[in-house]
């Protein structure tokens, strides 16, 4: 994981869903908030996303899904990260996600689901806090 410098985020559109307003707006917003943002563009397979995340050395993947295929696609990304020993990359999901599906997604290992109307500032704050907490835990473990 990169030390110092900007937090690196991959915004990704898995599957065939073409609605990219949310993905693009969040990408611009996080960039303006001081993050290093890479946007995959449409129609990426979970494997492509995992590979891109590892190659780009990101700390966070933001998946944007509005097609209803969120459960399967998210699971595949998380399984792919686990298989490549990269489960330390935080996975966030945004889009049209029915309330009932959110607990299952959190259980799967998604750090947070952001639905429509979320201010980008909230997303930025969540990422920063989580990574700070994770950094402190890591530091504590290393000191022990």
């Amino acid at each position: 994981m990169s030390q110092g410098g900007k937090i690196r985020v991959l915004i990704a559109k898995p599957g065939l869903d073409g609605h990219e307003r949310g993905a693009r707006v969040v990408a611009y917003g996080l960039r303006d908030a001081g993050f290093e943002v890479i946007y995959t563009g449409l129609r990426q397979t979970p494997e492509q996303i995992v590979t891109a995340a590892i190659q780009e050395d990101v700390q966070v993947i933001g998946l944007s899904i509005l097609s209803g295929a969120h459960l399967l696609l998210t699971r595949k990304v998380i399984d792919g990260l686990r298989a490549r020993d990269a489960r330390d990359i935080m996975v966030l999901v945004g889009g049209i996600i029915p309330e009932a599906d959110i607990p299952g997604m959190l259980e799967m290992g998604v750090a947070r689901v952001f639905t429509a109307g979320t201010p980008i500032g909230d997303i930025a704050a969540f990422i920063t806090e989580q990574l700070r907490d994770a950094g402190e835990t890591l530091q504590a473990e290393q000191t022990e």
């Binding site: 609605h19 307003r21 611009y28 917003g29 563009g41 449409l42 295929a69 201010p119 980008i120």
Partner: protein, 582 residues
Amino acid sequence: MADTKKKIREALTNWEENVLKPRVKRFNLPESPTRFYTPLSVKKDDFLGKVGFPGQFPFTAGNSPFDFWRAYARDAALMGFRPDWGGAGKVGKYGGFGTASDYRDYLLRMHAMGRTGGPNIAFDLVTQCGYDSDSPYAEGEVGRVGVAIDSFRDFQIIYEAYTGENDIDRVPSNYTINAPAAVIIAMYAVLAKKRGIPLEKLEGTPQNDILKEFIARGTYIFPPRQSMRLFRDTCVFCTKYLPRLNINSIGGYHIREAGATRIQDLAFSMANGIAYIEAGLEGGLDIDSFAPKFTFNAFGGSMEIYHEIALQRAARRMWATIMKERFKARDPRSMLIRQPITAHIGCSSTTLQRPLNNLARAVVGGMAAGMSGAIPGAFPPFDEPLGLGHSLEAVQLQLDATRIMLYEAKVTDVNDPWAGSYFMESLTDETEEAARRELDVIERMGGAVAAIENGYMPKAVARSAYERQKKIESQEEFIVGVNCFTGENEIEVSINRVFESTYDPELMKTAEDRQKASLAALKRERNSTAVKSSLDQLRTDAGNEQLNLMPSICACVEGEATLQEICDVLRDEFGEAQPIKL
């Protein structure tokens, strides 16, 4: 006249000095929060040139003195007509899910309940992107946002629900599909041939608007230029053999929903429309032989009711002028923006927060529609952003709101009620001028295709979406219940919502496996030599830019080549469009 204007100008100066300025000063404002329009606001008072009569050039006041729904409004009230059940103009309700047989069975159930109208098909993303259900790209997506069509066999299965009274020479077919539209149109033609129905009797509308897919909706397959060759071929084929079928349905709606401003929506729609017209002309067609079969899906919408009415007026005038002056159309039907609705708020104006408020929002859109030439449709139902489909209550409230505006408020008893308003004529002029300036930018790049290839239009839309988001987050723009009035004194008003069982979730779960099994059976059973030779012919024809591909696509369809096999040949020949990054 000049004397009157002089008097008004003097009076205006007097009013600004003695009434407006003291008021602004009293409230300690940098400027007036409101505006007032006078005859001086309208640059040129030219009623016949700029407004005209409903149904006459330049169509600012409307496409006709009244539409079919207005003619039958009384009958509709007396018989309790339910537009949401399908049947308006014989067009059925938009839908589709699961396998072809799942959707056929659903349609048969609906027909038995009196919910008729022609097929109005939503295709799953796999089909829209030119893949088959057994493609690795298909996993998890088969039959989800629409029905899966892998081959002509699936297409025929759906149409088993349309025979006799509902046969394809009696009801129109609508297809929301773009990149593989040529394949679906070919299926429709082959179906007619198999049923012994003359092609010239076929009616309906394929969306067939690939350019906006690159700007907004994302279901593209081939690069823009090659996609336009397919459009040209469908345009020529439909004009020659399926003259009653609409050729396309041009959408600014998707562009605006993706974040475009109103002006970008109008300018980009015009640029795309021009590109399609040029493709037809390049195919050797006379302008008036095909332009009347162009339709528009809808422009985008917003809560800004005055601006949305102005947009509709400006769009009608702009398209009519482009068609008449630039393309030398003579038939007035070539000059019309034929669209099922006019103004609306757009689904992106609805909020997840306090969702019942969306009913109030939809009514604003309905008023804008009613005052700009359409049925005053309150759209969408308030529960649109909840992502679970529309409840019976939400649909009932939506329908009743529309009826109240139509029958009680009598919103549509007057054509273009804003005609002659100093404010509205001025705003219409401003809207048209701004869109023309933006269209000029695109024209200087070489038109819509060039402005997609160089990323201009898609990136402009993404930028505008972000600018809008920033305005909301900085409270420069207010959205009730989202970025203001969110304190503890506000409560969430909710009502019970009942859902009609539409698509069986159990069928949805197994659709992918069943669809893959029937695709495997097809591949075993069909004549693979014939399939190969039809695909080879398509490949040869694709290599010659001058040839129309529709005959060879029809042959592939008839020989039961799959949709992906057809698209794969074209992918090899045309290449694939690359995703647009930021």
